[in-house]
């Protein structure tokens, strides 16, 4: 297949650095453009050259073209679980998600986070902190259901073994060496 590399109109590709004799006028005053013939081999080239063929970047546009007519008032979804709401809009939206409501310690941190607006860094940092706490809670939840999470399987160790065996072995050797050194150092400290 011919690539646009081969029809590259840029013959002017020598390195300019160190050419003290060159002057600004050696640079083209216009960007170089390939001809239509040089681009003709590209399937579909220029099909949307005419802007009226393009769907349009979302800039405000009325009326919308592809959806049913808007309704005056959307029915309100019934709230069955705790939903945290942004301080940057009043009340709750007519439609909202109800999955994984806040609970436990992470839930308390999330509630605290929602005291601040999206404009406030504390809001996001608290949420990130809650996420980390939530991971520990998730392990507790698994264990309380009598399920020991297979962390290596969850991280895709099977795929790593199939497609990156050398990398996996290397990681295992490094981890083994670190662990071995730690055990060795601790024993030595105990002996003293």
């Amino acid at each position: 297949m011919e690539t646009s590399n081969q029809v590259d109109p840029h013959s002017h590709q020598h390195d300019h650095r160190g050419h003290a004799h060159e002057f600004q006028q050696d640079y083209p005053s216009e960007p170089q453009r390939p001809t239509r013939e040089q681009l003709a081999h590209i399937n579909g080239w220029g099909a949307d050259l005419d802007r009226k063929d393009r769907p349009g970047v979302p800039m405000e546009r009325t009326p919308p073209r592809f959806i049913p007519p808007p309704v005056d008032r959307l029915p309100q979804q019934e709230q069955t679980v705790e939903i945290l709401t942004s301080t940057e809009r009043p009340g709750i939206t007519p439609i909202f998600g109800t999955v994984q409501p806040p609970k436990g310690l992470s839930g308390m941190i999330r509630r605290a986070a929602f005291r601040w607006s999206e404009n406030d860094m504390r809001h996001w940092l608290l949420l990130l902190a809650a996420d980390r706490v939530n991971v520990v809670e998730g392990i507790g939840e698994d264990l309380s259901q009598g399920k020991v999470p297979n962390v290596l399987a969850e991280m895709g160790i099977k795929a790593e073994w199939e497609h990156n065996r050398a990398g996996l072995v290397k990681k295992a050797v490094v981890a083994g060496a670190v662990l071995g050194t730690m055990v060795y150092l601790m024993r030595r400290r105990d002996e003293r």
């Binding site: 590209i42 949307d48 979302p58 009326p63 049913p68 808007p70 959307l74 809009r89 949420l127 399987a153």
Partner: protein, 394 residues
């Protein structure tokens, strides 16, 4: 039902969860037949998106069959085959009335900057996503799009996000005939953006990435020039050199906050989380574009602060456009392109993996193993459907 279940950074598994139910008269329940893992799911997978709760099911790219509808749904019926745009939108608010579907104000109670997105944390509304056997689809009269008979399921699923987002990325660059377009990121969105740049009359398309197999794919599939940033001294200088020292007319960021390539950015963004992800690509885009040029951003950044070279944006007189794609408005034109053979999104799918093996699927995609470009997950209840489709396409 079987569903992907997030347990923490780099940890996901397939679990049994309760089936979703109708919660609003405008809802539908869709039985998923194909769902993708998206590059932006990796931001969640890496634990970078705030308020990603343990137990969440990801997946904003899915197609399926309508299984149940709420009492207000008029345009969809049980048994319809639909593709569902990744944005949840109401069709009635100020933004929807102006076709800014990605910015709907009625579907996300937890944040005002972003609308609702399926399976994309509680910052994007707290909806479970489509990497499951069933999914709740609110505003079913407005969002879902019936899949035409002649459109392949694999193309349909890529019309839920990747294809419209890549296309919109190119469109926001306002490409004119002959323009030099530089696209950062040779993932699925970058590939579609490269193809779309040609459709819009670009004169040169250059794709930048660090992974050799992805660059090879881009060169072959999108017929573009490629640059491996690991092999160049300085990105902005290199692009200037390639363009007779003018700079590119248009630069497009198809990477977002997970970008590699700068130690300072990796340290402050990806490791310390002191900014909302690493803005390496944004730096490169702003510094590689010519003066008066356009920068288009579809790469996902977090909501907190980012270090952006604003001084250069001013000094160079740049136009910056960015948004979540308003999928719905692009569908008719993109379906035309697929029918005419100008665009074949399904070519970028390299992996088809059963939903049961979701842990491995995420690891393969995240670690770029096995030359992975795009992964489709097939839920167990969809296998009959995909078998029918396979026999039809032969």
């Amino acid at each position: 039902m079987l569903a992907m279940n997030y347990r923490g950074p780099y940890r996901v598994r397939a679990d049994h969860k309760p089936d979703p139910v109708i919660e609003h008269p405008g809802d539908a329940i869709v039985r998923v037949t194909r769902t993708c893992i998206c590059g932006s799911d990796l931001h969640l997978y890496h634990g970078m998106v705030p308020d990603t709760r343990v137990g969440h099911t990801f997946g904003h790219e899915f197609i399926g069959v309508v299984d149940d509808v709420g009492s207000d749904v008029k345009n969809l019926k049980v048994g319809d085959k639909v593709l569902v745009p990744f944005n949840l939108f109401c069709g009635s608010c100020f933004y929807c009335k102006h076709e800014l579907y990605g910015n709907c104000n009625n579907t996300n109670a937890q944040a005002s900057a972003v609308g609702g997105i399926y399976g994309y944390s509680h910052t994007a509304g707290g909806y479970d996503g489509g990497q499951a056997e069933y999914v709740r689809v609110p505003m079913a009269d407005v969002g879902p799009h019936i899949i035409p008979d002649d459109i392949h399921d694999d193309d349909a699923v890529l019309l839920t996000d990747v294809t419209p987002t890549g296309y919109q990325a190119a469109e926001m660059g306002d490409i004119k005939e002959g323009d030099t377009v530089v696209i950062f990121g040779a993932g699925p969105i970058g590939l579609i953006a490269a193809k779309s740049a040609w459709l819009m009359g670009a004169g040169r398309v250059i794709v930048v990435d660090e992974v050799e197999y992805r660059l090879e794919f881009a060169k072959r599939w999108a017929q573009c020039e490629v640059v491996n940033f690991r092999e160049v001294n300085d990105m902005a200088e290199h692009i200037k050199k390639m363009t007779d020292w003018m700079g590119a007319d248009v630069c497009i960021d198809c990477v977002g906050g997970d970008a590699a390539g700068s130690i300072a950015q990796t340290l402050t963004g990806r490791l310390m989380k002191a900014q909302a992800g690493s803005s390496t690509v944004l730096h490169w885009a702003i510094n590689s574009v010519r003066k008066g040029g356009n920068v288009s951003i579809v790469g996902v950044y977090g909501p907190t602060f980012n270090m952006v070279p604003m001084g250069n944006v001013l000094n160079k007189g740049l136009t910056i456009r960015a948004n979540q794609a308003s999928v719905k408005r692009h569908l008719p034109r993109l379906i035309e392109h697929i029918r005419a053979g100008r665009l074949s999104p399904k070519d970028i799918i390299t992996h088809r993996i059963p939903l049961e093996e979701v842990s491995d699927a995420y690891h393969i995609f995240s670690s770029k193993l096995d030359e992975c470009i795009k992964t489709v997950l097939i839920p167990p209840r969809a296998k009959d459907v995909s078998a029918v489709q396979a026999s039809k396409s032969q």
